[in-house]
Structure formats: C-alpha cells, structure tokens
Symmetry: C2
Subunit: 211 residues, 2 copies
C-alpha cells in the first residue's frame, strides 16, 4: 500500500510557498504556522522528555511511522538545490539522525550515490511513479510505503492512480502561491472515500481518504 501521512497544506491547498531556499525550506510559507498542529504533540521526532500533547493531533502524529517500510519523497523535499548536483555534501534537512529510519527514495532527474545517515539510507531514483513505487515496495519488505511529498509529487502519484490512502492536515492559514495539492479536498471524492475531522486544538482539519 502507498500511504500519504501527515502531509500538511494551507487552507488554499499549498504544501509550500514560492522561493524555497536553504534558510526557507517552505519558501514564503511559515512552517511554524503551517505545522502548528504537529509541533506540540508528544510524538514530535526528537522529543524525549515525556512532554507534549496526547490528543487527536498526536494520534495522527504517532501513526506516521507505523507499518511503514520505505518512503518516497520528491527532490524538493530533500533539498533546495535545483539541477545537477555540484556538491554532494548536502544530506538533507534532518541532521545526523533523520526520522525516517527506513530506505528513502528521492525521486529526481539528478542521480547521485546512495548514502546512509543514522538508520536511514537515501537512494536517488528517476523513472515513472510506477517505477519508483516498485523499487520502494521491494525495499519495504512487506510493509507499506509512505509518500512524503511535496505537493507536486503527491499529485503525480495521485494522477497515476497509485495512492491507496491519504491523511492530509489542512492548516488555518493561506499561502497564496507555491506548490499546490488541490483547490479543494472534494476534488478527490470521485476516487476516494473521504472523512474530515476538525482537531479540538483548532490547529488543523484532518482529512482522510481511502479507496
């Protein structure tokens, strides 16, 4: 199964703003606002002091890794660089212990050698969504594959009919321009069952889709 988990977009459907850079991984969008439902939860990666909320937002947060054996992410989730690699020192945004702890397949035209950081190995693959999914599925060893975004990658796999379930959190902010997932969640209702649940925190409306 290919699952989108905890992917967060603005009320107007953008996963990130324009102008991504090293200092602004979400471009003009403010990740602190966009992801405000996620940061206070007990399951925030790296939190080890037992603090954090354990309500509905945390239930979504902690489901992120369960049953997942590999991740597929778009090139722009991995890096702000564009075009061929000129410097291989970039190893992602996540420090020495990336939270994935599975093989990660970075979908890109610009290949480079695989490398391992902590418990995560990054592979760089091109080809169609179906090709990439086949590689990730084999690496997942019978577990599910998570499609990690960004919005353009989720759209490409959706358009190829390859996504089995989606959890998308819609934050009460607008971005206005950038990488867009949808105009409205209802666009997917021709192909998916759809439930939406407003978090009691008011920080997101959680949308669930399945076939």
């Amino acid at each position: 199964m290919l699952r989108v988990q905890n992917f967060t977009v603005s009320a107007d459907g953008y996963g990130s703003g324009e102008g991504q850079s090293l200092d602004q991984p979400f471009g003009t969008a403010n990740p602190g606002e966009l992801m405000s439902w996620f940061f206070p939860t007990a399951s925030l990666p790296g939190r080890s002091d037992g603090s954090g909320t354990r309500g509905l937002d945390d239930l979504f947060a902690r489901d992120w890794a369960h049953g997942i054996g590999a991740e597929i992410m778009g090139a722009n989730k991995f890096s702000p660089h564009r075009g061929p690699w000129t410097d291989l020192s970039w190893q992602g945004w996540w420090g020495d212990e990336p939270p994935f702890r599975t093989p990660v397949f970075v979908w890109t035209h610009h290949l480079r050698p695989s490398f391992t950081l902590g418990e995560t190995t990054f592979h760089f693959v091109s080809g169609s969504p179906a090709d990439v999914l086949a590689q990730a599925t084999e690496a997942a060893g019978g577990l599910d594959v998570r499609l990690g975004g960004g919005a353009a990658s989720v759209r490409a796999f959706l358009d190829a009919g390859l996504v089995d379930t989606l959890h998308v959190a819609v934050a009460p902010v607008t971005i206005g321009a950038g990488s867009r997932l949808w105009t409205s969640p209802s666009e997917l209702e021709d192909r998916y069952h759809h439930e939406q649940v407003a978090s009691p925190t008011g920080r997101a409306v959680h949308h669930l889709f399945w076939r």
Copy 2:
C-alpha cells in the same frame, strides 16, 4: 506508561451489561451495537482481505497494539466464570490466535498456571493495581502497558492514579445497568486533559485523556 486504548462504553457509561455468560460476553449489552464503530474498520483483528474502512475509527483501531508490550485485564474480561477455577480448559474468548501477541496479566483472586496460545501468554496475578502494573511493566520490556478493561478494572487503576492516557469510545446506545466506567467523561477533567471528537461515521464519540 499505562494506556487505556479503544475501551468502549455506552452513552450512560457502561462497559458491559449485567448477566455476563458464555453466550453473552457483554451480558445484556449487545456488543454488535456497542462496538459498531470498530467492526467495519480495516484494522479489525483477523481481517486479511484488504477490506474495511480507513477513516478516523480505523486510526483508533490500528493504534491499539502500537508501542504496547503487555496487557492487564480484569478477570471478567478473561472469563465468565466466577470464583475458584474448577476447570482449566477455558482459555479466553479469542480462539487459538488471541490478538494481544504480548504477555497478558489477568488480575484475579483466583490464580492458575500461565499458558500460551499463539503469540500470547496469559499470566494470572493478584495484588494491588501497583503490584500488577509493576509485573506488567517489567514484562513489557520498555514498551507501554495497555489496560484492557473491564470498567471495574479501569476504575481501580484510575483510583490508584496509575493510568497515564485513555482512549474511550462512547457508543450512541444505552445499557442501563452493569459495569460502569463513569457517569460522565467530565469526571476525569480534574486530573486529565480531555479532548472529544465525534466520528464522522456517527458510531462513536472518541474521548482522549492525558496528564
């Protein structure tokens, strides 16, 4: 951590009705009504055909086993028998492959030898809630312990201040008499943060508590 997960009560707070028996594990309560939020989900134990819903109810259903290393259950969850064991052939309601797949500690005055069914080993223990939790915590090997019910057992551990988080699903049915968890969920608000979320299915209101 000691966690209550997916424990289901009626709108009037009962986890089961009066008159539990071999044919009626929930006494006068109809488990098909009480648990109607749970049975359609993709995560129902034993479902292997890929069917089932994957909305909010399923998110709760599939969280049941994650991070859990042992369960504590009351004697009445294990068996309809009362008093000393006269026949050790009873091995629970769950067939040859109980869904727990961890050590299970049955809290009872009436001890009997441990036994293993599939991947689950049942132990029979007496003593205070703190004594039982200490044994289960040791068996859980660093993972959390689930408190599986029934209502009287949850009450006993709550009254001893030992429960860290609770997920209780409230079904839109009334039972009227039996084993009662509470008059109202608000009773726990002096000790816990509390969120409630109505399932889009209408089959339960999910209540989350944490300290």
